[in-house]
């Protein structure tokens, strides 16, 4: 009663109130078809801006490229995007704002915002992709509207260990002699792959140890002494971002351990920034990289290279692999929307989700392993090439290692 009374009183007092317009990358072509609104948040000023800015450019680049090439079934994409400086609160505010502005799908960025929005997107039925690759997000029972375009952290760690184990056996050692130290960011992001990786290692008789890397540490000598030298670790897997990873590699190098210990990085430190940061010490480091680095040529990079050239942008090498990462992530989302429209269905969250779940062996031109989603599994792929730093660039060090195929063979 009270509320109704107030509403009547207040409607008389309303002068105006409304949504404010947002920054948008609108269609560059004059098209009659109604634009499709897509909300996105990027970290352009926060702690992860070093990589997010390229991811953002890649995503916006893809939208512009797609609009210039006919859009989705003639509909241009209108991407409304905003910097959120890795603040979860800002991310939530922007999400509400963009969804109210008509965004049918959403592009997030980090672990913080992805986890915070997970419950909300499921209730709002908004398909969601981000650059956070926790395996839980690929499980529709846990996160029905999250889709992983990159290989999950768990799978990355397992594939990397598989490659390390193969080399180790080739060198004439036994699996039981192998000991992996997981140096990880002390956060949900860092610990995400550890349970699965340890389970896999235990199955193969490999010993493991967890080593948290404190935030803002200026050196890791103490951690190295205890967990690598004294515990006689033979391998190190780093799940952290590039700067602390490069510092760890330098510490290992200064202590003269790199000849005895094989170091490997999961995707957030296996990039060009690690090589810049660690210098010569980076030689020989292995990397589990779901999105092909710019030092290898892939057919799927061609459109991005041509578009950067056409718009007088920087080269793809300068834009790092995170540019193609953003580009491909948006391409997969666009494919889900294209399928929905091509099937004559209305562009709603549940329809896009259903159509994404029919995506089979979607070819990203070799930038990633082919992407397949099903109603039971939202992990786009479980495969990648392992790379290795040689002469200051990442080069391919293994064939495609596909866990899905390996599991099918086991059965």
């Amino acid at each position: 009663m009270f509320k109704r009374f107030l509403i009547i009183t207040v409607t008389l007092l309303i002068v105006f109130a409304g949504a404010t317009p947002r920054t948008s990358h609108e269609a560059t072509l004059a098209q009659d078809m109604e634009p499709i609104t897509v909300g996105a948040i990027f970290d352009l000023t926060g702690p992860t801006s070093d990589v997010s800015q390229f991811y953002a450019q890649g995503m916006l680049g893809y939208v512009d490229w797609l609009n210039a090439n006919g859009g989705i079934e003639g509909h241009p994409i209108e991407m409304i995007s905003q910097d959120y400086a890795y603040s979860v609160e800002t991310a939530e505010n922007l999400y509400v704002e963009f969804v109210n502005a008509g965004s049918v799908v959403f592009q997030g960025w980090g672990t913080g915002d992805t986890e915070a929005l997970r419950g909300r997107i499921a209730e709002d039925e908004i398909p969601f992709m981000s650059a956070s690759y926790s395996a839980t997000l690929g499980d529709p029972a846990e996160a029905p509207y999250n889709f992983l375009v990159g290989t999950s952290y768990s799978d990355q760690a397992i594939i990397l260990m598989q490659a390390m184990l193969d080399e180790w056996l080739d060198q004439g050692y036994a699996a039981e002699e192998m000991k992996v130290a997981f140096f990880h960011n002390d956060s949900p992001f860092g610990t995400s792959p550890l349970d699965d990786a340890e389970a896999w290692a235990a199955e193969h008789g490999i010993a493991t140890v967890r080593v948290p890397m404190p935030r803002g540490a200026t050196g890791f000598d103490a951690e190295i002494t205890t967990n690598v030298v004294e515990a006689e670790a033979t391998h190190i897997i780093i799940q952290n971002v590039s700067s602390p990873a490069a510092l760890l590699v330098r510490n290992l190098g200064d202590l003269g351990l790199l000849d005895f210990v094989q170091v490997g990085c999961l995707n957030w430190c296996a990039d060009e920034l690690l090589i810049n940061g660690a210098g010569d010490y980076a030689e020989g480091i292995m990397g589990a990289i779901p999105f092909a680095p710019t030092s290898v040529e892939r057919e799927g990079q061609a459109d991005a290279i041509a578009w950067l050239d056409e718009t007088d942008g920087p080269s793809l090498a300068e834009s790092t692999l995170h540019y193609t990462q953003g580009w491909v992530t948006m391409a997969v989302m666009a494919e889900g929307m294209r399928l929905t429209l091509a099937n004559g269905e209305e562009l709603t969250g549940p329809n896009i989700k259903a159509n994404l779940e029919t995506l089979a062996e979607f070819d990203t031109g070799g930038v990633t392993a082919p992407i397949t989603f099903t109603a039971e599994d939202h992990r786009g792929n479980r495969a990648l090439h392992v790379y290795r730093v040689e002469d200051g660039v990442w080069v391919e060090a293994s064939d495609l290692i596909d866990l899905r195929e390996m599991e099918m063979d086991m059965e």
Partner: protein
């Protein structure tokens, strides 16, 4: 013209002396403020109401911090930790004991108060920067705990990512983490209660003891104030309100993770009370509103500029985030240079100007 401020008001009874707003015009102003508070949710769009809700939460937290920093003079960098304790204890109580959210909120705030008192113990020996570093320890310890403590994982089936899934909090059938209107009602009631309680706190012997400690702790002790006891009470009271703000953050969300309560948050809250006015309840609210609204306003200005065609939209994406950071820094510097007492002083200067207007002398 009747005075809108207390000028030439003489009290004839203790009752009138105790009033917070003794003049009719002052009371009228309170009515206007309440009218605004009540009308706002009906006219604001969902996203604007959401921003209003973040201001409400921040205002409660800022009042809490101001009790400690502005009134008692104990610098704290542990705000983020206290918010986290409030948020996680509220969430865990709701999850494991299935307590109704209002009870969980109050218990969460009480737990935070106890936690705050424990971290207030170093304040007996430490002052200024040294105390700030001690409270920084609270920030680090709590940060480690919420990242590694097992019961927090237990809130969901698979513990791969450590964050707390919030159970539903219903308010007359509306979910607090979904309906901005429902949350606004709850949050605003909490803010009004907190503001009135905090204002009255400084009219009691406890509040005056806080101020005495801030102004000169040795003199306060000579006058018979038990400095250590009152410092702990200040930490506990402050943490209670901060914990309440944390709990409200939790019921406003579907998931909470440690990334919401980092050291940046502590610094943001310090900025709020510096800009708003140290040692002022209304200043805390102004400061919270300023800090939370500034980015939104800057964004709208930026978009307006883009609409004028002075900047391509791509350039806007590039520069706006940095302009926001710069404007934020500038606001703090300008406040410190031109009005160290904050927004609340600007407001009282304005009132002083109009007190005898148009015949000021």
């Amino acid at each position: 013209m009747m005075a809108t401020t207390q000028c030439g008001v003489f009290h004839e009874s203790y009752r009138s002396d105790m009033q917070l707003r003794p003049t009719t015009w002052q009371r009228l102003r309170v009515v206007v403020v309440f009218a605004f508070i009540i009308i706002l949710p009906f006219v604001a769009s969902a996203q604007n109401l959401r921003i209003a809700n973040t201001v409400v939460i921040a205002a409660i937290g800022a009042i809490g911090l101001n009790i400690l920093v502005g009134y008692t003079g104990q610098i704290s960098l542990g705000q983020g930790a206290f918010l986290a304790v409030g948020a996680y204890s509220t969430g865990l109580l709701m999850h494991y004991y299935e307590l109704p959210w209002p009870i969980a909120l109050v218990l969460g705030a009480l737990i935070t108060a106890m936690f705050g008192a424990v971290f207030g113990i170093p304040s007996l020996r430490l002052k200024g920067l040294y105390l700030a570093v001690a409270t920084l320890a609270a920030q680090q310890i709590v940060g480690w705990f919420v990242r590694n403590w097992d019961p927090i994982d237990g809130t969901k089936a698979d513990g791969a990512a450590r964050e707390l899934s919030m159970p539903r909090a219903l308010f007359f059938g509306d979910k607090l983490n979904d309906s901005e209107f429902a949350f606004y009602v709850v949050g605003m009631i909490a803010l009004v209660i907190v503001a009135v309680v905090a204002t009255n706190l400084f009219r009691t012997h406890i509040g005056r003891a806080f101020v005495a400690i801030r102004d000169q702790d040795i003199a306060a002790e000579v006058m018979g104030v038990n400095v250590f006891q009152y410092k702990l009470v200040a930490f506990a009271t402050s943490s209670f309100f901060v914990g309440l703000a944390g709990g409200l953050t939790a019921v406003h969300s579907t998931n909470i993770s440690f990334e919401r309560f980092t050291i940046d948050v502590s610094i943001e809250y310090l900025a709020m009370i510096i800009i708003g006015g140290l040692g002022s309840i209304s200043g805390s609210i102004y400061g919270a509103a300023f800090v939370k609204l500034l980015p939104e306003i800057l964004r709208d200005v930026g978009l307006w500029i883009a609409d004028q065609g002075w900047l391509a939209s791509g350039q806007l994406d590039q520069y706006l985030p940095f302009a926001e950071d710069a404007a934020f820094g500038l606001a703090i510097i300008l406040t410190l240079i031109f009005e160290p007492e904050g927004i609340v002083k600007l407001w009282s200067d304005l009132k002083a100007y109009f007190r005898l207007w148009p015949f000021s002398y």
